[in-house]
Structure formats: structure tokens, C-alpha cells
Symmetry: C2
Subunit: 230 residues, 2 copies
DNA sequence: TAGATTGTTAATCGATTAACAATC
DNA sequence: TAGATTGTTAATCGATTAACAATC
């Protein structure tokens, strides 16, 4: 029953049926901190050390990691590289996912110029837009096609992720097109709620505007408190 | 004790000492949906109607809104415009916040070209970068200054928000500079954990990479389930 | 008034933290 | 072996949902 510690058992089995999404959303953060440790050449860590540098309880760290099985060793702690690799694996790094970006505006451009995808083992295949002046060009080496050719493109190539960076008005239609084309997930940057109940597609929202507003709430509340103090 | 319903009482008092951050993070979403209703000319709504179109329980909606006082009327529901305006107010729209963008790369550019800030009553003042070829230029009408002039700039103008879009390595230093310059909040797009314990500054993270990874987790899990079915 | 829907309290559920036995 | 730290169960805390009295 016990986990044999050969330090390379890549096949991780989920312990629970469904892992709480709160836990999943914390995984990338663990991944980042472990990546930093790895870069610094740290070989070994513990839940209490991670707790100190990440500002969460060691209990939570152990509880979280144990949703996926035992990554540590009693009396020793965690092997940094092993834990990092295990979480990479959980997060699908090196699953060789592929991505297309729908909307070649400033944001789409910015994403295509970033190394965000490569860093996570994701291949950028193409961009799509409606603007004739963009169609046929390349952005950072990525070809821009007309949105009308999205369906046929996805029939020829396996596309896992569609990034949605169109203007708000075009977003629902573009999202449905991506779903029709069979992408597994949509990364939604549009300021629109995307709901595709008739398709089996994962949707991850990047509502930047919501984040900005949450910040503003904080600033406003802070201001109120300050003026109360006087 | 009861709320006089004159439909324009802008001074909203917080009921509880501290509103749960889960509630605050839902406010922008309420705001978006109410904005849509308002655009469609809807005058009146109810927690059960909102529940249906937003996919959350009506109980939660009533509970959330009641953290800030009574926006509704028994037997009637909520006046759309009044509720929208009240939430706008909570979120600091028309507080006339100002913003500077540190990092004039592709992402900084994209943000400065978007209408995201104006839509929330926030004024874009300037951008800052280290690149000589950018300093002295304008991006969408916004001047780009050298990062070295950030401090003196903020002494002359009231800057509420600093947007951090520098490369990862430059982020901690830039963040501290913003804090030193006295901004109230930092909107952090860098793939770095910013912690400024010695400054009293609000930090809101936009960890796009984390969001992308959470999506990939979903895709991977989905794939595993599918291959199990076979 | 009767009907509707809020505001609010109580019950439930889930997530976080604490504690400790297992074990390296 | 003794010390350390995990994995895991139990206790606590907070957030969500249900229920209903207040009231428009």
C-alpha cells in the first residue's frame, strides 16, 4: 500500500474523486515557489519551511498535497525536484498542449509575444482575426488566419486550447466557434461571461476588469478608514 | 433604523466590520450582469431572476448584498439602476483614481490601448520603462518616461494605482519603487510574488500563468477520465 | 388585503487548522 | 534509538444554503 520512493513514479493517481477547486488553484503557486527553490539549488524542503516563505499554514500544504498522494517522507520532508516534477505533472506541463489565439489585437499580440505558453510546454499554432490587414501576416512568427478558417484549421490540427481575446461583442460567437471546432478548453480574456452548456468544454476566465475593480474596492475602503481616523 | 428609499442615497455604510473577500470578489460580476440589464432597459429585477441568469443561489445574492445594507425592497425586488449605481459606488467607480503603468512592453501597451481604465473612471497618467528607445515616446497618447523619474513624477501628481508589467526580474524592484512613491495599490501582472510588508499598499495579483495552469489541470484531468471510460 | 420578495436567522456544508499517531 | 516530519483524523472556523418572519 505504501508509496515506493524511487523518485520517479510519474503516474500519479488521484486519491479523492474530485479535488476541491480551491486546492487546484493553489497548485500553480506551489509550483512557482518550488521552481524558485529548485533554481537556487535547494534539494530538500518541509511543509513548515514552505509555510514560512509562502505565508500559508503547514497544515494546509500537507493537506493539499495529500489530495494527490504522498509526495513526502516522514522525518525528512519533501525532495524539491520530485515535488516540483510531480506538481508539473499534475498541471499538465509537458502534456504538449497546443493553443490558438482568437483575436489579434493588442492583448492577443502581447500573449503571443510572451513566453508564457512555451514555459508550460504549450505550442502556439496560429492566431485568428477578422481584420483583412492582419490576415496573412505573422506575429512573432505565428501566422494570422481569417476567423472563417478556424473550423477547417482545427480539423487538420489537434488544438487543445483556444484563447479568447476578441472585443466583447465578438466573444460569444468566437467562443461557440472554438467549441464547435472541438477545443478542450477556452481561456477567456473577454469581458463577457461565456457559457456553452451544449458543449463539453472547460472555460477558464481571466476577468482583468473584475480584478481591477476588486483592487479599487480595497483602495476605496482604505481611503474611508483613513478619513475616519482623522 | 430603516433605509429611506429615495433612490439616491450615495453614502453607503458598511454593515459588517470586514466584508468577506469572497463577497468582494463577486461584486464585479454582479456589476457586469446589472450593467447588461441596464443596457437592455430593464428597470427591475429580483434575487431569483439574478440567480437564474448568473447561476448562483438567490440566497447568496441576498446575503452578499446585505453585507452593505438593504438595496432592495420587500415584495418588489431590486431597482436595477439603483443597485448598479450602488455597486459602482462600492467598487470606487468615479472615485477618479489615477494609474501609471510600469513596463511599456507588449502587455503594458495592450493595457494602455484598452478602455479598461476609462470604463471604470480611472485616468491613465503615464508609463515608465528603462528602454531608451521608448522613453520620450507616447503610446496611445500616454507619455513614456524613464523609470528613474517615477518618484519625482508621483511627488507632483497623485497616483493611486501602479500597474506592474515589467519582466519578472525587474518586478520586485519596480514594486518597491511604486510603494516608495506612495501609490495606494499595485496591480501585479508579473509572474512574481510581490510582498511589501514595510509599506501600506494593497496588492492585487493577475497571475495569468496560474490561470493557464489551472485550465491545463482541467484539460489533463478530463483526458484521464476520457481514457478511463474506454 | 393578498402576494411577493426581501432581510435575516438558523442549519448545513465545506474548507482550514490543530493535533497526533505513523514512520522514516 | 531519538528526532523529525509526514499523512491523516478530529476540531474549528467560515461560507453557503435553507427557511421564514418582516414588510412593501
Amino acid at each position: 500500500m505504501k508509496n515506493e520512493k524511487n523518485l520517479e513514479p510519474k503516474q500519479i493517481a488521484l486519491k479523492r474523486e474530485t479535488v476541491p477547486s480551491a486546492v487546484i488553484r493553489r497548485l500553480p503557486r506551489y509550483h512557482r515557489f518550488l521552481g524558485e527553490m529548485l533554481k537556487k539549488g535547494k534539494l530538500r524542503t518541509s511543509s513548515s519551511e514552505l509555510s514560512a516563505c509562502m505565508g500559508v499554514t503547514s497544515s494546509q500544504i500537507r493537506q493539499d498535497l495529500n489530495c494527490f498522494g504522498g509526495f513526502g517522507q516522514q522525518g525528512y520532508g519533501y525532495n524539491v525536484k520530485y515535488l516540483y516534477d510531480s506538481i508539473s505533472d499534475l498541471l499538465g506541463v509537458d502534456e504538449h498542449f497546443s493553443v490558438v489565439v482568437v483575436g489579434a489585437g493588442n492583448l492577443g499580440r502581447a500573449l503571443v509575444f510572451s513566453h508564457m505558453f512555451e514555459h508550460r510546454g504549450i505550442t502556439k499554432l496560429a492566431m485568428f482575426d477578422v481584420k483583412d490587414s492582419l490576415v496573412g501576416t505573422q506575429i512573432n512568427g505565428i501566422p494570422v488566419y481569417h476567423i472563417d478558417s478556424l473550423l477547417s484549421f482545427c480539423q487538420e490540427q489537434k488544438v487543445d486550447i483556444g484563447v479568447l481575446t476578441t472585443p466583447k461583442d465578438a466573444a460569444p460567437e468566437a467562443a461557440e466557434l472554438l467549441a464547435k471546432a472541438g477545443v478542450l478548453g477556452i481561456w477567456n480574456f473577454s469581458n463577457m461571461e461565456i457559457s456553452l452548456p451544449s458543449y463539453d468544454v472547460e472555460i477558464e476566465n481571466m476577468h482583468m476588469g473584475d480584478s481591477l475593480m476588486a483592487l479599487c474596492y480595497g483602495l476605496k475602503t482604505r481611503k474611508l478608514l483613513e478619513s475616519d481616523d482623522q
